[in-house]
Symmetry: C2
Subunit: 618 residues, 2 copies
């Protein structure tokens, strides 16, 4: 409740707060409390003013207040907000003492008050204790109900004790009746359920048949039924797992419906039939979720080898597939067929070396294996098999032509990357010059009086350049991040004159550098096999062309990413510079990148440790 | 020659230059030339004033000058320097026309003048033509000598022709006599050699015996001897290669001495004995140079398989080694031993999967192969072999304990990386705060009048902080770059209070992130095999701990590398900001990195595409 809006009250409150602080510092909780109630000051201040002191003096607080209603009032008004930071800021010269611990403020106060009240007088503070349970972040309704039930079963003899009925009535005042009924069911205590049901305005025709049905059930199955009714599926699972084999089908369908496979597996020994059934069910689910490898593992470990094989094959987990296949064991001709299938799939996925292993060792087909290796440019491995199986005829029929094909395709790829590099690099220089000019003109026009907010925004320079675009930008920002990423892909277009052309160019340049750098191993292997078959001229030309391209990249990187190149040629500081011109030149240092793509600001690293060059070539 | 240093002359020269430019524009070369000679203006200006115009009017230039001596004077005075950029700057309002072509300026003028003179009158301009050959960037002395020899053999009948003797005398005036003698030898023309030798003051007793000896030799061997004498080893090689087998030993020693292996191999057909001998020699050299793999390739391709095998083994090129071994072919027991040796070496190099292949397929020792795979944590491959060879006993005896060991070592590694991350991250925050404070104090003290140069320098803030250090810095910069790199390693010390502690911390943080990110595949494989053997609890704990660490890294990266964290809390612009304060806050954005290590400015990228997590674990 905010104070009324006239000056007198505001002034009044400042004085009141000063007085309250004094009282609280002097541990005069009673005076403070009374005053706060009267003037509608939020009671949280009692704690917030000095949390540690309050927690140390809970007992004194309770004794001073000494009213069940007032304590309940205090508990009910608690909230997580720190009122000294919001409604009642501290005077400027005092230091704040932050609240202790990690738990929420409300939970801390509830627990502290309750434990003190339980020590002082459990019966007297009964209702306050119930309030403290209800007020917790996750209300502890079952504990409340159990306490009520305790009162019912063992009515306390103390004079100030509260009766079960009173307590339940108070609880129903605090908590919605249906919620309380559900929670009473969750205690599996039918006395409690009936007690709550009777107190509620529920129709006995509604709940009695259900309760009577439940009473007829075997205890574990009863609890399972209640848990399921309350949608507490994990508990339901635990209870039905104790109900024996005749209820296993029900368990399995619960597990499948609620996807409680992991929980269910923990409830059965790994050797049991139930464990196997659950694993099969889980595996089916995992295959649907495109997690066939994990499905295979679950099936294999419980002995379902044939199903495991299927799962491994479906996800190309070929090592596991072959291991299971020899574990089963498959008949030789089936194993051969399996290896052929796997080989084919791996070839389609361009995993040539793995395909070759399947074909060589399991399908016993060295010809297919050698072909696979040649197709995959795994020259050394191909040679190893050629000589191992004494199939030197492959060298003339397949290998040499494949090597020469690889040579010419590498040559033309290198040429194309080089051409692209040069084109993008030149265009980038042009774009940067244009942007630098445009941004200088902008600052000249706006003069030194333009708003600071303009200077802060990194994108402001750009968005001003293309006003048409700044609109579409704001539209983009309102979308979801996934959509935004997609939109950004389009935003950075290489089309000449597109607003983020420089970023698109930088991205493309980074890609060229990365791809060319990654080729080192492949080129190295090709060079070696070219030399081995006396294609020295081809090897030399490849080494020269590739070397030139790498050299060109090395010299281009500082041009593209050096600070000077990005800074342009205008001076940073000097007699004519203003705060704005300095800001402008700093902003120019970076391309017009938004913070989401800082990677374009950084030159990619070439791996200079890879020794790809052959010294025997000129 | 600079003009004398009094004002009158300086003034005079400006007028003279203006007049010269007018004359040159009007193609009045004669007037310009005369004036320039008299006033000692550098003759290069004739060309530099307007290169294209000069080259178009070479004939007119020659005809106007019309003096052999003057043309020689002009040719002799040529240098690469553009005098309009150095001695005689153009008037401010004229535009410069840059010289055409890529070749050097002197070469262009020499070639242009010579071709025109040869068309006009070869005999008359004979000496000038010689000068133009001598003045080229690489003097064409042999052409000069051949022209002189031509004059000797066919004395021209023209009246204005120069005699061979005169020409030679002129040449000796231009070029050192010994140089000319060597070049005459290089023409292999003994007449020419004698002619030069006679004109020189050389003692006939010195050169005649050598020349007479040469004359007795077979022509190719003669040329080889001369080339070798002149240290023209490539030519020598070409000539001796034509001298037949009896000189092959001499050829081989020339090749070895001068390391002309590649050149030599090109001179013999690949099937020849010489090719083989050269390859063996080359291979020996390459092995010494630690290029054993390339040596192996050279040896294999010329049929030296046993030596090739040695070379491949020595560099662990095991695929080639095994291919050659089966190519030879080795006896089975030798092949087994070879495979064992390779396997052992590969194991030492921690290349377990490759070792296993050698052991399994060539040493036929599946037990050793399985052990190697288990040692290398190649669980899937180990399982494949275990089932292939029906050695399921390995699972209980080796595999399970290895898996659990791997689990506990991964767990403790993850914990250690986490602790290191937290420590470095916290310390970085402290260091940054200290530096930010120090840098603000610095700017306050210096006030807005401090020199611009201070603002420019990125390192100035730091070097001022520790004046003791700035001294050692300058000492470092004078060393070689290799030493500097080493020194930088020490410079970025993690010791508290070291001047570049923040950079050292960032480097260490980058390393942690990189290492932890790289573990994804290994953790994934370990999780799978843990699940397969029902170690679900261990798998869950590993997945949880690793997941938490990755999460911690993800949240730490923006803290460490965000612009805000680096910028501190001080406002960038505003009513109280000055150019200096803006500069200061921009400089604070970056840590105190020197331009050599920009990589610490950038957060390393985590590979979020790697799916390492198992969904079946909680």
């Amino acid at each position: 409740q905010m104070p009324r809006g006239n000056l007198e009250t505001v002034h009044h409150r400042a004085l009141v707060l000063a007085q309250l602080r004094k009282w609280l510092d002097g541990l005069r909780f009673k005076d403070a409390f009374e005053c706060m109630r009267k003037l509608r000051i939020n009671l949280n201040l009692i704690y917030d003013h000095h949390p540690a002191v309050f927690l140390q003096n809970v007992e004194m607080f309770l004794k001073q207040i000494d009213s069940i209603n007032h304590i309940n009032l205090f508990l009910t008004e608690l909230k997580e907000e720190d009122t000294t930071k919001t409604m009642y800021p501290r005077p400027a010269n005092t230091t704040s003492s932050s609240a202790p611990g990690k738990a929420g403020k409300v939970d801390i106060i509830c627990d502290a008050l309750r434990s003190t009240m339980e020590t002082l007088n459990m019966h007297k503070y009964c209702l306050c204790i119930l309030t403290s349970h209800v007020r917790k972040t996750t209300p502890e309704l079952e504990i409340c109900l159990q306490k009520v039930h305790e009162l019912l079963v063992n009515p306390p003899s103390a004079a100030d004790a509260v009766s079960a009925e009173e307590a339940l009535k108070y609880l129903l005042f605090l908590v919605n009746v249906n919620e309380l009924y559900e929670h009473s069911l969750g205690t599996y205590d039918f006395d409690l359920v009936l007690m709550v049901a009777e107190k509620s305005q529920k129709d006995p025709k509604e709940y009695l048949p259900f309760l009577n049905m439940l009473k007829t059930l075997e205890p574990n199955y009863q609890r399972y039924t209640i848990d399921k009714h309350l949608k507490r599926y994990r508990k339901a699972l635990r209870h039905i797992s104790k109900c024996g084999e005749e209820h296993f089908t029900e368990l399995l369908s619960l597990v499948k419906d609620q996807r409680l496979y992991s929980d269910a597996l923990e409830l059965f020994p790994s050797g049991s039939q139930q464990y196997k059934s659950l694993s099969v069910g889980y595996a089916e689910h995992l295959v649907e979720q495109h997690q066939a490898e994990q499905a295979g593992l679950l099936l294999w470990r419980c002995g379902e080898t044939v199903r495991a094989l299927q799962a491994f094959v479906s996800c190309m987990s070929w090592r596991h597939a072959l291991a299971v296949a020899t574990h089963i064991p498959l008949a030789p001709e089936q194993l051969t067929q399996l290896a052929r299938d796997l080989g084919e799939k791996l070839l389609e996925a361009r995993r040539h070396t793995e395909a070759a292993l399947c074909l060589e060792l399991y399908a016993k087909d060295c010809e297919e294996a050698i072909s696979a290796l040649i197709e995959g440019a795994a020259w050394e491995e191909a040679l190893r098999l050629i000589y191992l199986y004494n199939r030197e005829d492959f060298i003339e029929t397949n290998l040499k032509s494949a090597i020469l094909d690889a040579h010419s395709s590498q040559m033309s790829f290198i040429e194309s990357q080089k051409a692209l590099l040069i084109r993008h690099k030149n265009r980038l220089a042009v774009v940067r010059e244009l942007k630098a000019k445009a941004s200088l003109e902008l600052f000249d026009e706006e003069g030194p009086d333009c708003a600071d907010s303009e200077l802060y925004s990194e994108a402001s320079t750009v968005s001003n350049l293309g006003s048409k675009h700044s609109q579409s930008n704001s539209r983009i920002s309102s979308r979801s991040s996934k959509n935004r990423r997609k939109a950004e892909g389009k935003k950075y277009s290489l089309k000449e004159g597109s607003p983020f052309e420089d970023i698109a160019l930088l991205r493309s340049l980074i890609q060229i550098i990365t791809v060319v750098d990654k080729m080192k191993e492949e080129v190295h292997n090709l060079l070696k096999v070219l030399v081995l078959f006396l294609f020295d001229a081809q090897a030399s030309s490849l080494q020269r062309v590739y070397s030139e391209l790498l050299q060109l990249l090395e010299t281009s990187i500082p041009d593209i990413w050096s600070e000077n190149a990005q800074r342009g040629h205008n001076p940073l500081t000097g007699p004519d510079s203003t705060a704005n011109s300095i800001m402008a030149s700093f902003q120019q240092q970076r391309p017009t990148a938004s913070p989401q793509d800082p990677e374009v600001l950084m030159a990619p690293k070439m791996r200079n440790t890879v020794k790809w060059r052959l010294t025997i070539l000129k």
